[in-house]
């Protein structure tokens, strides 16, 4: 008798657990697949998917592949992605070795500056670069006035690749420096003892050990470069060079509804290509390691002394940081406060607040700041909570579909931002119940969350692995259900990681633009879309003002987050506990 009762009770408790696990998994699945269905569907339709009269056809693909322009776009994208990757990996690995393994003066400051592009929208960086290096840029004009020739052409495939290399170098830098910090210094010592000099040690021992990190970050860069919108939009469109995302943007925004079939077919081909790359990346890393982002032991004691070369290296590093990051940001800040920025004019004579006034007086522009902040603040919070739950279902439950859930959750890495936007827009058009989300910031929030599930997953899962499974087992044994264990044990233990993930999502959502360009409407503008709108009107002053506001908001948020994180971590010393044994 007693047995039967207890079995029943336990089954009921288990059922509630299952319902929550199932809901998290189903929501993830829907969020990722619903936007992809209309794209796949549309790619085989003869007319826009909301038209009553339409037939199934392959003509979209045929038309696309016969299209000379598309072929050029593919070639350009491939060229751009390859050269960007090569540049980013070289810059990243040199910086990582110099700043992590050698005694270059000012390494700590440099390390912070080198990774700073990560916190900024590529849109902002692209605008900033045009201010300094564009055809009418500050340095370009200065150089031209002295030498009489055009020193460089930013508005070219080469110019775009250089900007891409700088923007994505932090990926390689982070993976390489993480790998360097984790590797055993004894292997280098052994090479020195065996008779190799410092440079030979770097070349023959340090660098080969970095190969996995370089390969992985290289692929990451390639995928990001293949899908980036801002760089070709800002640097390529003025001279008619198109890459994949800017091509879709043109088809969608300029071409309008007539091109739905082409857009869909191009998207499907791109998705297939990126899915292959992601699968390759998985293969390279394999196992659970792919979830482990960059974590490192605390700085190692002994560094490679460079002798006098260290001053050369320091000058090189500072020159790079100054030219690639600091100068463009100063430039865009200066432009936002001046009526006209030129090397031939004293900027103090043309100082103005007009650009900021324009932003705040124009309700649509001001609203875009508020919308961005709301999505980042509330959407980021909801997002990270949801992503933490996905991680826990995937790694800390006996949910039968937990393995497939991991793949679904990580799949958005293969979906370019612009395709996320198109997919959500079309699913709002196609599925009757979803129409209400169209043109709302809720719809945008959903798209942002979907696009960045892998970010939250990556931010939380290393910490999940660091909590010993005996922690949850202990709770289950003393009588807690899975939900109670998650609520009382796992989430509290993860709060540092969750907060760090929230910070990451906040910054990411604040700067997100690519998935919004197709989704926003009057009332649901975000900072990125407003910047693009203003830029299309040729208003570079207000664009700069908005860019500055975005960077300032980001820095403020990071400053606050750092304070809070320190507060959280001093309360509990997690590192003493729960280490996987």
């Amino acid at each position: 008798m007693e047995t039967a009762v207890i079995v029943q009770k336990a089954e009921r408790a288990g059922a509630v657990d299952r319902v929550l696990q199932g809901a998290v998994a189903a929501l993830t699945f829907l969020l990722v697949t619903v936007p992809l269905i209309p794209i796949l569907f549309q790619s085989f339709l003869s007319a826009p998917l909301y038209e009553p009269v339409r037939t199934l056809t392959l003509s979209n693909y045929v038309r696309l592949l016969q299209n000379q322009e598309f072929r050029t776009v593919l070639l350009n994208t491939l060229l751009f992605a390859t050269s960007t990757t090569a540049l980013a990996v070289v810059i990243g690995v040199i910086l990582a070795i110099l700043l992590v393994r050698t005694d270059v003066p000012g390494r700590t400051y440099l390390a912070g500056l080198v990774t700073s592009p990560l916190f900024m929208s590529p849109l902002v960086i692209a605008f900033a670069w045009t201010v300094i290096f564009g055809p009418q840029g500050y340095l370009t004009q200065l150089f031209r006035s002295i030498t009489g020739v055009n020193p460089w052409n930013l508005y070219s495939l080469g110019g775009m690749a250089v900007l891409g290399g700088v923007y994505y170098a932090p990926y390689t830098y982070l993976y390489a420096s993480g790998s360097l910090a984790l590797s055993d210094p004894a292997v280098e010592d052994a090479a020195r003892i065996a008779g190799a000099g410092p440079l030979r040690t770097l070349w023959r021992v340090t660098l080969p050990l970095l190969r996995p990190a370089l390969l992985y970050s290289g692929l990451l860069t390639f995928i990001a470069a293949a899908e980036v919108l801002s760089i070709p939009l800002v640097l390529g469109t003025p001279v008619g060079i198109e890459l994949f995302s800017s091509f879709l943007y043109k088809l969608g925004i300029v071409g309008g509804t007539t091109e739905y079939g082409m857009i869909a077919a191009a998207s499907v081909l791109m998705l297939l290509f990126l899915t292959l790359l992601i699968a390759l990346q998985e293969r390279l890393l394999g196992g659970g390691r792919r979830f482990v982002t960059v974590t490192g032991r605390v700085a190692r004691a002994r560094l490679l002394p460079l002798g006098r070369i260290r001053w050369v290296a320091a000058v090189w590093c500072w020159f790079y940081v100054l030219l690639a990051i600091i100068l463009p940001l100063l430039g865009i800040a200066a432009q936002s406060f001046t009526a006209f920025l030129s090397p031939f004019m004293n900027p103090l004579e043309v100082t103005t607040l007009d650009h900021y006034r324009l932003i705040f007086e124009h309700s649509a522009y001001a609203r875009s700041i508020l919308n961005s902040f709301l999505i980042a603040f509330a959407g980021g919070a909801i997002g990270i909570f949801f992503m933490a739950l996905i991680t826990l279902v995937a790694f800390r439950s006996d949910f039968p579909l937990r393995r497939p859930l991991i793949y679904v959750a990580l799949y958005p890495r293969a979906i370019p931002g612009i395709i996320v936007g198109i997919g959500f827009l079309w699913s709002f058009l196609l599925f009757p119940g979803l129409g209400a989300l169209r043109n709302t910031i809720l719809g945008l929030t959903l798209a942002f969350i979907m696009r960045y599930i892998p970010y939250g997953f990556g931010a939380v899962s290393p910490s999940v692995f660091r909590i010993s499974e005996e922690m949850d087992r202990a709770a289950r044994v003393v009588g807690a259900s899975w939900i109670t264990t998650v609520r009382r044990i796992l989430l509290p233990l993860l709060r540092e990681a969750i907060f760090a993930g929230y910070t990451l999502l906040f910054v990411t959502f604040l700067k997100e633009y690519a998935s919004a360009v197709f989704l926003f409407a009057r009332g649901s503008e975000v900072m990125g879309t407003t910047m693009i709108e203003l830029w299309r009107q040729g208003d570079s002053g207000p664009v700069s003002a908005l860019a500055v506001l975005q960077v300032v908001l980001t820095l403020l948020w990071l400053g606050i987050a750092r304070r809070v994180l320190v507060g959280v971590s001093t309360k509990i010393r997690f590192q003493d506990f729960g280490g996987v044994t």
């Binding site: 007693e2 047995t3 207890i6 079995v7 009770k9 336990a10 089954e11 408790a13 288990g14 010993s468 005996e470 922690m471 087992r473 202990a474 709770a475 289950r476 044994v477 003393v478 009588g479 807690a480 259900s481 109670t484 009382r488 044990i489 509290p492 233990l493 509990i572 010393r573 997690f574 003493d576 506990f577 729960g578 280490g579 044994t581």
Partner: protein, 371 residues
């Protein structure tokens, strides 16, 4: 009375049998140890009892409560089993104080606050942890953490206590003390307990009965003395303590439990056995280094062997030598230092004759030096 019955337990991980047909019974108030090298399936068996792992086959019952029946797909969730468990890492929740750690299980059982206080006071005084209620785990020493983990497992008065290598994170001295009071506590509370360890000394000292496991199977079951003195096979003989093994064939069966073995080297040895052998059957004779006696040189009686000391180790409590003899090198323990030519006596009552089918070298952790 309420005894724990495990029947035909099988568990596969990725096609590998971690537990392969394990059956045993734990009587009420008894302390049983699952002993074996790492990967022998002892922890998996414990987790199956706790409900943390679901076996592919087998039944687990406690009294008249069915905990697991793989065929009927009945798996009581861990939270419904009312067991207490102490983990190797202690798994104290770092964000909760000692009091909150202990109260957690009581709150899950909807016990009123006043009763929670009373019970926690009781268990803390039992484990000499008074005054530690408001400490966080990281403010405790290893030994204190270990006792808090035990308190957390006992405070809600579970029907069974499961211990998964609970002493392995303590240093050697503390571990010996902990053995004593753990055994005393278990006997005072008369709680049914299952203890998992790879440390044979711990198993012998702590348990009423020992279950020796290897590669997912039970190799021996019995009281610590039975297991140590009359190991049923070479694996157990070698894993618990250490052993010399000599191969041979049965030459003659003498009186009860005594037989003569013709070793492969030609020498004749008298040994004991609890099982029946037929003449000519291949066997292995096991003898522990401590049981071999060193004698003055030149004796040539029954079970006497001449030898020459090859190398020696000083163990503190004794000396261990490797002695080259006509039947091969033997490990011998002696209280006094010796060297050069010696004579060894292998007492027949300690020469355990085992079936040669077991001679397959023991796999896994094979201790080379006696404790």
């Amino acid at each position: 009375m309420a005894e724990l019955v495990v029947e035909g337990l099988r568990k596969r991980f990725d096609g590998v049998l971690a537990v392969d047909g394990v059956s045993f019974t734990v009587h009420e108030g008894e302390m049983v140890t699952l002993l074996g090298p790492s990967g022998c399936g002892k922890s998996t068996t414990l987790n199956c009892i706790a409900g943390l792992e679901f076996p592919d086959e087998g039944v687990i019952r406690f009294g008249d409560r069915l905990l697991t029946d793989a065929r009927r797909r009945i798996f009581l969730l861990p939270e419904a089993r009312n067991v207490g468990m102490v983990f190797q890492s202690y798994a104290l929740w770092p964000h909760m104080t000692v009091f909150e750690n202990l109260a957690f299980g009581l709150r899950m059982r909807r016990i009123p606050q006043a009763e929670i206080r009373r019970r926690i006071e009781w268990i803390l005084s039992l484990l000499q942890l008074e005054g530690f209620e408001n400490r966080y785990p990281h403010q405790l020493s290893g030994g204190q953490q270990q006792r808090v983990a035990l308190a957390r497992a006992l405070v809600y008065e579970p029907s069974i206590l499961l211990l998964d290598e609970p002493l392995s994170n303590l240093d050697a001295k503390l571990r010996e003390q902990a053995r004593f009071w753990l055994r005393e506590l278990q006997q005072r509370l008369r709680i049914t307990a299952i203890y998992v360890t790879h440390d044979q000394a711990e198993a012998l000292a702590l348990s009423d009965r020992v279950v020796v496991m290897n590669r997912g199977r039970i190799m021996a079951m019995g009281t610590p003395r039975q297991i140590y003195e009359f190991p049923p096979n070479a694996f157990v003989a070698d894993f618990i303590g250490s052993c010399n093994f000599l191969r041979g064939r049965v030459e003659a069966v003498q009186e009860e439990q005594r037989l003569l073995v013709r070793l492969d080297s030609g020498a004749l040895l008298e040994g004991s056995s609890t099982v029946q052998f037929t003449l000519g059957q291949p066997v292995v004779v096991a003898i522990r280094p401590q049981r071999i006696r060193l004698r003055e040189q030149g004796r040539q009686g029954k079970n006497d062997l001449p030898g020459k000391v090859q190398s020696g180790l000083y163990l503190g409590a004794a000396f261990q030598y490797v002695v080259e003899t006509p039947v091969g090198p033997l490990r011998v323990e002696a209280m006094e230092p010796v060297q050069g030519e010696v004579s060894l006596y292998l007492p027949p009552e300690w020469c355990i004759v085992l079936p040669a089918t077991d001679v397959a070298e023991p796999e896994g952790g094979r201790p080379d030096v006696a404790p």
